[in-house]
Symmetry: C2
Subunit: 200 residues, 2 copies
């Protein structure tokens, strides 16, 4: 990169946040991983958030009205299972996922998971992820926002949208990224490398 | 309705526009209807726009990667075929629909349709409908907008969104309604009877 390119990159980074679409995926406990696969999770590639990764493992999510095969399993294993789907997926499965922040599984619907080594009935854990922005403390300070703040985000996309109720999450473990689900990504015509602007 | 109810209804109607989700659907010429079904379209129920109706007839839409059965056919027959799908549907079919206003089919992708009486290959006609607002001239005047104007629309929904690039369409044949596709409807958490506000 020459000097101009790196200047432009620095300015873009200061003004905008990369927007990413999160496909449907599952988080599992270590015990549940063993039940479904009979072995530990194997990393396929790292995700934008440091330490998080896509695994080689896939599960079938089974609802009362339909099932979705080949659903991604993310690593590392967590303390509690969580199945993140879109409202479109929910229609197909026959499950209405409440819109929740990750981890807020209390009272959410359950679902059946099928893996190559076994099945697993979850009593709860199905949700549609509340749209959110990951930032580290330095980035949050640049944008003038704080952890748990609710902001509006304007997408610089094909079908521009201003998303309201976007939750800011700040942690030293994070890198700047807006996470939308596929309904939201398609509604704004999100493409590779698209950016968003946090509105004052 | 008592006086207060009707006053409230009148105020709501002056301030907000009903928001509707348009599912995937097909418009056909009279000749194409005969090819696919062997008989004329039969009305099932009227739609929000006067003169438009859902028919009893259904087609299977077949793309290079997948197919979608039981797709709604709307009536009356038109001068040109049009297949309105979401970007989510496009992914399943293996077709990338451009975002267009209804009727702007020039240069759009083609597709195969299968009906109970025959098949039909369309050379063009597949699009994702540009989000839009139907208004009659009196309603347009109340909202201070004109035909073809591009406005922003704030949804009063579970997951509130401000849609940019919403096209206003004015005709004496119309009744006030915002039309979103299912990606957009799910992105804003649209429910039955939800309203939108045209932003100045």
């Amino acid at each position: 990169m020459n000097n101009l390119d790196s200047l432009v990159a620095a300015v873009v980074e200061r003004l905008f946040v990369p927007v990413e679409a999160s496909g449907r995926h599952v988080h599992l406990t270590r015990e549940q991983v063993m039940t479904l696969f009979g072995h530990e999770l194997t990393q396929k590639r790292p995700l934008s958030q440091p330490g998080q990764f896509l695994t080689q493992e896939r599960v079938t999510v089974v609802g009362p009205k339909g099932e979705i095969p080949h659903v991604a399993v993310l690593g590392p294993a967590r303390k509690e299972a969580q199945v993140e789907i879109s409202l479109t997926d929910g229609k197909l499965l026959g499950i209405t996922p409440p819109v929740r922040m990750s981890g807020q599984v209390e009272g959410t619907p359950g679902v059946l998971l099928k893996g190559p080594a076994g099945e697993l009935r979850l009593d709860q854990g199905v949700l549609a992820a509340q749209r959110h922005i990951h930032l580290n403390p330095e980035q949050a300070s640049h944008f003038g926002v704080r952890d748990k703040q609710v902001v509006r985000l304007q997408t610089l996309t094909d079908r521009p949208v201003i998303f309201e109720n976007v939750v800011v999450r700040v942690s030293p473990d994070y890198e700047a990224a807006v996470h939308l689900d596929y309904d939201e990504a398609n509604a704004c015509g999100l493409g590779q490398g698209d950016l968003g602007r946090i509105l004052p």
